[in-house]
């Protein structure tokens, strides 16, 4: 826990990250040991390892971090979190960085935000996700080429009865939407 009295000395970026991550105050205790960067299944593809990102957060290098691919390369496998000797909730910080990057319009380099948006749009509308719709719409708008490559496997999936062509809709979709609307409204208050 960071003592309140010490929080004043942290970089603004650090303060923001802490504020946006449940349990995020642990990040100030990063030892720079690198067990996160070493463990990450995608670590070799990251612009900066999580460890480096934490150092950059402490140094207030906001743009460099939010424009990096690091958090978009995160697959949420939580291996770093499980191994961090300082018990920093690293995966949660990655989520926070994703949200900040989207909010601040810096998430240019990755397709992940678009996939996320497509996905949640469907859930907003139907209450369930819809693999076929998500895949086609996302690929259509973002990766028309890869749709061709995917074609074969997609067709096999379809043939095996594994791709539904119509979405399932929950009964009380209105209730869900009311909850989502309220949550959006509340999150805009901050």
């Amino acid at each position: 826990m960071v003592a309140e009295s010490h929080a004043a000395h942290l970089s603004q970026f650090m303060k923001d990250v802490i504020a946006d991550t449940p349990g995020g105050q642990k990040v100030v205790h990063c030892l720079q040991c690198g067990s996160c960067g070493g463990s990450c299944p995608n670590g070799s593809e990251m612009d900066f390892t999580p460890r480096a990102v934490f150092a950059m957060i402490a140094a207030d290098r906001r743009d460099a971090v939010l424009q990096a691919n690091t958090m978009w390369q995160c697959v949420s496998c939580y291996l770093c979190t499980a191994r961090c000797p300082q018990e920093i909730p690293i995966t949660e910080i990655m989520y926070a960085l994703k949200r900040m990057a989207i909010r601040e319009g810096k998430a240019g380099g990755s397709d992940a935000p678009a996939l996320a948006k497509t996905f949640t749009d469907f859930v907003d509308r139907y209450g369930r996700s819809f693999e076929f719709g998500i895949a086609t719409r996302y690929l259509l708008f973002n990766k028309p080429l890869s749709m061709l490559k995917m074609g074969g496997a997609g067709m096999s999936m379809f043939a095996k009865g594994r791709l539904a062509l119509t979405p399932t809709k929950i009964r009380q979709v209105k209730q869900l939407q009311a909850i989502i609307d309220k949550a959006r409204e509340l999150s805009n208050e901050d």
Binding site: L31, Q32, C33, G34, S35, C36, G37, G38, S39, C40, G43, S44, F48, T49, R51, A52, R83, P85, Q86, E87
Partner: protein, 676 residues
């Protein structure tokens, strides 16, 4: 009779006066608090002039009580008690209240700090009125000492005391003294042979006329207190007559049962069912491991008994309880290695060529199972590359948050031994290299020069899952090289895990027996981390070596000697003062309800069957006051912390909190006149 109280408020230079208006408080106390006869402030109350001022006031003004507002009683209570004593006042009629550490140093606002200091002074003035004169108690110190643990720290302590002419009982759980140091090959940074410097000390202890060696023995029970402890030791059955045995070793040689030696050889070698842990063992008397002996298993064999030239084998030997009396106890029980299986991603126990540091110590020890040849588990292949993994279970909130201190240097030592004995490449995976003792940094420099490779990064995993042909059949160490910021994979043949030093499994239990406590991480708590590092909160019980926290050999030796010096001081003085802060039971009023008896972990409250009341055995009482708070009849009094004193202190501390119109006191009432 009203008391005459002197109030002394210290400036402590600007330490207090900078945040607290001490002059105003002194003036206020003099004018507003009942029974205050003198009230002064002064630059440095603890200086000889400050003390003199108090002494003179006591004499001239005939003060009956003294309140000092200054620093923590842990710092200067003794000082001011002495001043009062000098002036002929009983020292327990003084109260030191802490307006520095608890007030001026921690509060920002001057007005608020002053208000708080005022409350603290007011509390002390109210309290001191009810303080009672107390006489310190003295007990004689038994000159014999118990040392628990025969590792290097315990050995050092025992030898120092024995050489000074005092008797020592040295108790060791294992069949031989020597401890972990006996298992090591070389010692850093000098690289001298561990056994060569340790064994002379062991044999000296074994032969010393002032040392009673009790090996293969454990502490059973401790009672009594500083000066006169009564101790029960369990001498485990060796099944060998200690006096008859000559240590010839025929029994060991002829014993048909081989077992894996998980103790001395750390699982790297075997021993017999009857064994001495190692050739230089002291005493040279073997023990029979009853769990492995064929006789104990199925009543067959007895080869050792038949062959023993002195008929020393005694299968029917039983555990024995030995009673001893000592004046002081030194605990030097050391450490145990971290269980590396707790970190499965390092593969220990699953991947054959992952070793613990203790295993590697035995592997490269000339007297070890491979005669010092560094080979892999197959017993023949010499590794071409070795990875040393630091901080295994140390500096890790999931295991031990502390730094084990010695592993960096031990890895350098391993690196050196590997480079000296093989052509292998050695990688050291570290977070921070910690080499901050005499000649340690120089040793690090030396290894840099010898070609040991250092990678800054905590190892993420050790795996046999190859990703490319060069990794096939290797152990791959994966980590982030934090200095270049990239994930890296290092294929090696052998991995050494530098496991943390951990407190002994039963450290807490032993601590309980001796009345000392462990910190959160399980190491024994010293009385003061800087100024009193070998004493404990229990008088007469000292700690030395790694049982107090991870440390290297020089520090363990220094602590062993320091503990011995403290004990020698006590013995020389001959008697020890005990604070008279103890509980007493008003036996007339006690109804014998037996609530208090079990409250006391020191068994200091006895129940007297005949009158049916309880009584405090003053010599055993440590003064915690738990029984005082528990007594339902209110007939137990805690000296210096009795109810009246504390109630008054609470009244004083809340002097400004009482509502102005309190109609509880009948006197303050507007009494309507009755018709007359």
């Amino acid at each position: 009779m009203a008391e005459k109280i002197g109030v002394y408020v210290c400036h402590c230079g600007s330490n207090i006066a900078g945040k607290v208006d001490v002059e105003d408080i002194a003036k206020w106390a003099g004018e507003n608090l009942d029974d205050v006869a003198v009230s002064r402030d002064y630059k440095f109350m603890c200086s000889s002039l400050g003390q003199q001022m108090i002494e003179e006031d006591i004499k001239k003004e005939k003060l009956t009580r003294v309140v000092v507002g200054a620093c923590s009683p842990h710092l200067h209570e003794k000082t001011f008690r002495r001043a009062c004593s000098n002036a002929g006042m009983n020292p327990y009629l003084m109260d030191l209240t802490n307006i520095r550490e608890h007030c001026s140093w921690v509060h920002k606002d001057r007005a608020q700090a002053t208000e708080k200091a005022r409350a603290l002074i007011s509390a002390a003035v109210q309290r001191v009125k009810y303080q009672e004169p107390l006489e310190p108690m003295f007990v004689d110190v038994n000159p014999a000492t118990l040392v628990i643990g025969g590792g290097i720290a315990g050995l050092q302590a025992a030898l120092e005391l024995a050489d000074a002419g005092y008797h020592v009982y040295l108790v060791e759980r294992m069949p031989s003294i020597g401890g972990h140091m006996a298992q090591f090959d070389k010692t850093f940074p000098t690289l001298d042979c561990s056994a060569c410097i340790l064994t002379p000390k062991m044999s000296e202890a074994g032969q010393h006329e002032n040392i009673t060696l009790l090996t293969y023995a454990e502490l059973e029970e401790v009672s009594g207190s500083v000066g006169s402890f009564k101790v029960k030791i369990r001498q485990k059955a060796r099944c060998v007559d200690y006096d008859a045995c000559t240590g010839c070793g025929i029994c060991v040689e002829k014993c048909p049962r081989k077992v894996l030696d998980t103790e001395f050889e750390a699982g790297m070698g075997n021993r017999k069912a009857i064994y001495m842990p190692f050739p230089q063992a002291v005493p040279r008397v073997p023990v029979i491991d009853q769990d492995s002996c064929i006789w104990f298993e199925r009543q067959k064999c007895r080869a050792c008994e038949k062959l023993c030239p002195t008929d020393a084998i005694k299968f029917d030997q039983q555990d024995e309880l030995i009673d001893i009396e000592v004046g002081n106890i030194i605990i030097a029980t050391g450490w145990k290695p971290f269980d590396s299986k707790k970190i499965p991603q390092y593969g220990y126990g699953r991947l054959a060529n992952v070793y613990t540091s203790m295993e590697f110590e035995r592997l490269c020890n000339a007297a070890g199972p491979t005669n010092g040849k560094i080979v892999m588990r197959d017993g023949k292949t010499v590794p071409k590359s070795i990875a040393i993994v630091h901080c295994v279970g140390s500096r890790d909130d999931r295991h031990n948050p502390y730094c084990s201190g010695v592993c960096c240097m031990a890895s350098l030592k391993f690196g050196h031994l590997v480079l000296e004995k093989t052509d292998a490449e050695v990688y050291s995976f570290y977070i921070d290299m910690r080499t901050n003792q005499k000649n340690y940094e120089e040793f690090y420099q030396r290894l840099l020069g010898e070609g040991m490779r250092f990678v800054r990064g905590k190892v993420s995993e050790v795996t046999d899952a190859a990703r490319m042909p060069t990794e096939q059949g290797k152990l791959i160490v994966q980590c982030e090289d934090t200095l270049i910021g990239r994930q890296q994979r290092y294929p090696v043949d052998m991995v050494i895990l530098m496991g943390a030093l951990e407190p002994q499994e039963d450290a807490r239990e032993l601590g309980l027996k001796c009345g000392i406590s462990c910190s959160m991480d399980g190491w024994y708590t010293e009385r003061h981390p800087k100024l009193d590092p070998v004493a404990t909160m229990t008088d007469g019980v000292f700690v030395a070596g790694t049982c107090q926290g991870p440390k290297d050999i020089p520090a363990s030796v220094a602590q062993g000697a320091a503990a011995a010096a403290r004990v020698a001081g006590m013995i020389t003085k001959g008697r020890v003062m005990i604070e008279p802060i103890v509980a007493t039971i008003n036996e007339q009023a006690c109804s014998g309800c037996k609530i208090c008896n079990n409250m006391c972990p020191y068994n200091a409250i006895e129940f007297l069957e005949d009158p049916g009341v309880s009584r405090v055995i003053t010599a055993l009482c440590k003064g915690c006051g738990t029984c005082v708070a528990a007594c339902p009849a209110g007939v137990i009094t805690g000296a210096h912390f009795n109810n009246k004193q504390i109630f008054s202190e609470i009244e004083g501390i809340l002097w400004d909190a009482l509502q102005p119109a309190d109609d509880s006191s009948p006197q303050a009432e507007p009494v309507p006149a009755s018709a007359s």
